[in-house]
């Protein structure tokens, strides 16, 4: 996010301060991203690693910093701590200036530009194009539950391996009519 030089009219903060969300263009082809999903899927080794990291705050910090750097460079990740990338065409909705997690707003320009930052492409247009190309459009029908702001800055990978991401989204069928309550977390 900070690689782009803000225009004078942009609400981006000064260097060093957290930038406003701004649509990011993923640097990883969607096909490759879907393939790599298998590489981070939970397995006994990752669950063991998550356990180790959970016991060592220093190791957790180091791991989270590495995750931040990697996902930040590739996806513009803002470390919301609850990753939707696998179901949003590996385009990060946390980079939407309106923080929309359930699809694009009505202000998308005819050319697919973001309403708030017209020099960028709407991240949901990017998500749709990538998901469609790879046969994953059905993912975009999932109902995304509200963000748990307590998880900001945490490692989404560790949470994923711990099984804490279940319930981030719900199918948009009758079964998806379950209330959107955020899970109680300690």
């Amino acid at each position: 996010m900070s690689t782009r030089t803000p225009r004078s009219s942009s609400p981006d903060a000064a260097p060093g301060a957290p930038a406003w969300p701004r649509p990011a263009r993923p640097r990883l082809p969607a096909r490759l991203a879907y393939r790599l999903q298998r590489a981070v899927a939970p397995n006994p080794a990752y669950r063991w690693l998550a356990g180790v990291l959970g016991r060592s705050p220093a190791a957790y910090r180091a791991f989270t910093a590495a995750e931040r750097a990697a996902k930040g460079a590739v996806f513009g990740c803002r470390m919301c701590g609850q990753c939707t990338l696998p179901v949003t065409g590996y385009a990060c909705p946390a980079t939407c200036p309106k923080q929309l997690r359930n699809g694009p707003c009505g202000g998308v320009g005819a050319d697919g530009s973001c309403e708030v930052f017209p020099d960028t492409r709407c991240v949901w247009v990017t998500a749709y194009e990538r998901a469609e190309r790879e046969g994953h459009v059905a993912d975009l029908l999932l109902l995304q539950r509200p963000v748990d702001h307590r998880r900001a800055g945490q490692s989404a990978w560790v949470s994923y391996w711990r099984g804490e991401d279940e319930g981030l989204w719900a199918p948009a069928g009758p079964a998806g009519a379950r209330p959107p309550a955020t899970k109680a977390r300690t």
Binding site: W124, L140, H149, A177, P180, A181
Partner: protein, 336 residues
């Protein structure tokens, strides 16, 4: 805590509010052609300014949207405008955006609206403050519109907050949403309405329809998904009153698409007849929209020209109908 049927209200229970008899809900439940209009509250503390703009609409519309800091510009709160409208005998649709409130404030405002008897709420993301009169303000966007719709339906049908805590009395409002059929990605727009319908939207008002063919294509997708049955579609319409307004709508309003043909017609007439030509185009669009299968009504947006709305409706053949709020005995979700 079984899931409620999406887009459908369970039979009223003792602990729930019953707002089933109100005008807009009764109109839509009865399969009638609904008419709503839009009104921005004043930038000031004078209730009279709102009431003067409301007065000409009485008897012509089923309900009037009261906007919520539209365009991210500060106005009198939509709940207060909605109360003033209700007191004046005009049914309000209270707009509520995610821009200015977090999930606590959204839910408490929704409860307040129900307690005050506001029968309809329209839940939307809202314009980004960057384009408003306080671009230096902090955008909230704690929930998105789908999540807010979902939360509202859970409050009403399950009697629970997002936290899971139980409500003492369930609210009874009709839940509405907005959609823009014309913005990219085109292939996702009907699906996005489906998400809103599943989340809880029982009716939707669209962005201005100027491109009727594009709207009809979107409607075909919507009816193909069977959405028009669970979520009534009200097409957004309105007159372009001047060439300046045309330029503004073309370049200054995000997500609005005006075909070249509309511009050609407005430029082809003498300057003093542009307003009339704009009204004529609006009337023609309403007539064409009424022919599109699955459309349940129109939502008329004419900021600054509210007094002209009755004429538009009359010329479009939407006068002479019983547009007064239906009697409570006629309506109710259970009756249909």
């Amino acid at each position: 805590m079984g899931p409620g049927r999406p887009g459908r209200r369970p039979a009223a229970r003792d602990e729930g509010q019953d707002m089933s008899g109100t005008g807009l809900r009764a109109r839509l439940d009865a399969g009638g052609f609904a008419v709503t209009a839009e009104l921005g509250p004043p930038r000031g503390a004078d209730p009279g300014a709102l009431l003067r703009k409301l007065a000409p609409l009485r008897g012509w519309v089923d309900a009037v949207n009261i906007t919520d800091n539209a365009g991210a510009q500060v106005r009198m709160a939509s709940w207060a405008g909605s109360l003033l409208a209700a007191q004046a005998g005009i049914e309000p649709v209270m707009q509520l955006t995610c821009r200015d409130r977090n999930r606590l404030a959204l839910q408490s405002d929704l409860l307040a609206a129900a307690a005050m008897g506001i029968p309809n709420v329209l839940l939307m993301t809202g314009d980004h403050p960057r384009f408003g009169d306080h671009p230096d303000g902090k955008p909230v966007f704690d929930l998105d519109s789908v999540q807010l719709l979902w939360a509202a339906r859970t409050m009403r049908d399950e009697g629970r907050l997002l936290s899971g805590r139980a409500l003492t009395t369930r609210p009874g409002w009709l839940i509405g949403a907005v959609e823009n059929p014309f913005a990219p990605p085109a292939g996702y727009r009907a699906a996005r309405l489906q998400k809103k319908a599943v989340a809880g939207a029982e009716f939707v008002q669209t962005q201005f329809v100027f491109d009727v063919a594009a709207f009809a294509r979107w409607m075909a997708e919507v009816t193909g998904l069977g959405l028009d049955g669970r979520c009534r579609i009200l097409a957004g319409v309105g007159p372009v009153r001047s060439l300046r307004a045309l330029d503004h709508m073309r370049t200054g309003v995000p997500g609005l698409h005006i075909p070249d043909e509309v511009g050609r017609r407005l430029r082809a007439v003498p300057e003093d007849q542009v307003a009339e030509e704009g009204v004529r185009i609006c009337v023609e669009i309403i007539e064409q929209i009424r022919e599109i299968p699955g459309v349940s009504g129109v939502h008329v947006m004419a900021p600054g020209y509210e007094q002209g709305i009755p004429e538009i409706l009359e010329r479009a053949g939407l006068a002479g109908r019983d547009l007064r709020p239906a009697a409570p005995t006629l309506g109710g979700a259970d009756a249909h």
